[in-house]
């Protein structure tokens, strides 16, 4: 492989990784606060891309209006899910919450089939995202840097919220001890809702960017990115937002590079992600940034 091809693959890996990272953050935030693997999270990726699709194709909205709108709608749906399916179960054993998450996931997927139809739809990229760029001999499509930059901006905003706002500080306190946080006068329900809102918004952004990169959407499209992002979250150390970003980028780059260096193995692409997960669980169960946590009593 020559250097140009390597750079091309690298940019491809980074853009895929930034999508995994965007989605992984939602998993990790919810896990950090509620110790819940929100299996419905991947389906919000699907929802985000469909709302964006309909905004453009049906309501003829310009992309710069349709995309943020889709993010808002999905964030709203995330809040509704938390309120209706998770909040009433919060004081029950974790397995109930977990089962509810699986149920919500199936509900969203099948509602998607009923409402949007099972046939894949072609997602139309805005024209400026579809141009060939030539950067010093490396030719890439313009959506690649757009995805990466958008993701980085969103990461920056998220970190700003987590580390520089009172809601973010409450979120960090909440992830250590919900009860004590409530007793310090923080409305924990509101903060949990806020975390779901942020995670869902990022999932929707990930979904839209995913549809820009792979412009065919269907009601089950969220399953695979959801699983991969979950792996990325575990890889980075679940519960840790910075870890989810690192895990996402790492997984994306490794996946693309394996295919690039060993084209004959390209059929095993997904298997590599799972193999990484198994190895990680064997040798470093807490992930890259994860800390060993004492079991809560």
């Amino acid at each position: 492989m020559n250097f140009e091809a390597f750079l091309q693959n690298l940019s491809n890996g980074i853009s895929l990784g930034s999508l995994y990272a965007l989605i992984a953050i939602g998993y990790t935030m919810v896990y950090g606060i509620l110790r819940l693997i929100n299996f419905a999270h991947g389906d919000l990726v699907m929802l985000g891309s469909y709302v964006a699709f309909y905004g453009v194709a049906m309501f003829m909205l310009p992309w710069w209006l349709a995309f943020p709108l889709a993010i808002l709608v999905t964030a709203g749906v995330g809040i509704v899910i938390e309120r209706s399916a998770y909040k009433p179960l919060r004081d029950f054993p974790r397995i109930n919450l977990f089962t509810a998450a699986v149920a919500v996931s199936f509900l969203l997927e099948n509602l998607g089939i009923v409402i949007f139809g099972g046939r894949p739809k072609a997602f139309e990229r805005p024209a400026f995202m579809d141009q060939m760029l030539n950067l010093g001999g490396v030719s890439i499509v313009s959506y690649t840097p757009i995805i990466i930059i958008t993701a980085l901006v969103l990461f920056g905003l998220l970190l700003l919220v987590i580390y520089r706002t009172k809601a973010g500080m409450a979120m960090r306190a909440l992830s250590k001890d919900i009860e004590a946080t409530g007793l310090m006068g923080v409305n924990t329900d509101k903060i949990i809702m806020f975390a779901f809102m942020l995670g869902s918004a990022l999932a929707a952004a990930g979904g839209i960017l995913w549809a820009i990169k792979f412009p065919q959407i269907n009601p089950l499209m969220g399953v695979m990115p959801g699983l991969k992002a979950f792996i990325a979250a575990v890889l980075g150390g679940i519960g840790n937002v910075g870890g989810a970003m690192i895990g996402g980028f790492l997984l994306g780059i490794v996946e693309i590079m394996i295919v690039a260096f060993f084209p004959e193995l390209s059929g095993y692409r997904d298997a590599f992600a799972y193999a990484i997960l198994i190895l990680l669980l064997l040798f470093r169960p807490t992930g890259i940034m994860g800390e060993v946590q004492a079991e809560k009593v």
């Binding site: 700003l160 520089r164 409450a170 992830s175 004590a180 409530g182 007793l183 923080v186």
Partner: protein, 257 residues
């Protein structure tokens, strides 16, 4: 004068177990009062009822005349009750100053949008928040730890930090759950002085659970004793030490036959 805290016939049942039974008491503003009793007698349950972690099965709790029974913990904190925990529960991953600032959360106005956009109101409020947090740490002798991880502090200082975090919510009533637990006699001695200092400087009312009798007898003019969730005695240290029911509760029934 309306008492600051008033509990009227409060009962808490967990299924068939009655943890607190028909408990009534009053605390006057400015008081330092202890709640003692053998292990499992329901002391922490009473604190959990006052702070809204549990809702009373029967009875009512009033803070300065307002009924707080059944209100959410954060609402009750907002009305002026703060507490510490038996096992220290500081927020790991947040530094000492941030731990205190979480307690100030309630008093803040600005929202996420203004923080992300760095509106001037937000900057001012953040500065104020950090400043008042620092002042609080200074007044309690914890300022030099401001940017340390809370778990890296010596045990006694962690106890103090928990009190500082509770004070950050501007309470009228401070509940201390075994503040001297696990402390050496000399540390406990220092803590007693510290609690008295806090009581005076912050014009508070303090209600504390404690097992170390030296602490209780040394600083609390009034002591309430419970056993099996029921009120059994109340009085000054001397009266409590000579009370038959208290001795019985702690040492077991003596054979009168």
């Amino acid at each position: 004068m309306t008492p600051l805290l008033k509990m009227v016939n409060v009962t808490k049942r967990f299924g068939g177990l009655t943890a607190v039974n028909n408990f009534s008491t009053e605390l006057q503003a400015g008081e330092l009062c202890a709640l003692i009793g053998p292990n499992g007698s329901g002391k922490t349950t009473i604190f959990n009822l006052i702070t809204g972690i549990y809702v009373p099965s029967e009875g009512h709790i009033y803070l300065g005349g307002d009924d707080i029974s059944g209100k959410r913990p954060d609402v009750i904190t907002g009305m002026g009750i703060a507490r510490t925990f038996q096992n220290i529960r500081l927020f790991k991953g947040l530094n000492v100053l941030e731990n205190v600032i979480v307690g100030k959360h309630l008093r803040l106005q600005s929202n996420v949008a203004s923080a992300v956009m760095r509106l001037p109101g937000y900057d001012r409020e953040e500065k104020e928040m950090r400043q008042t947090g620092m002042e609080l740490l200074e007044s309690l002798g914890l300022a030099r730890f401001a940017y340390d991880e809370p778990t890296s502090l010596p045990y006694g200082q962690q106890r103090k930090l928990e009190i500082a975090r509770a004070l950050a919510t501007n309470p009228r009533l401070l509940l201390l759950d075994e503040p001297a637990a696990g402390m050496s006699p000399s540390d406990a001695e220092e803590l007693m002085t510290f609690i008295q200092h806090v009581l005076k400087t912050f014009e508070l009312t303090i209600f504390l659970i404690e097992h170390q009798m030296r602490v209780v007898m040394g600083i609390c003019p009034r002591i309430i004793v419970i056993d099996h969730g029921e009120w059994i005695a109340e009085g000054n240290p001397e009266q409590i030490q000579n009370n038959d029911r208290v001795i019985e509760a702690y040492l077991g029934a003596s054979d009168h036959a």
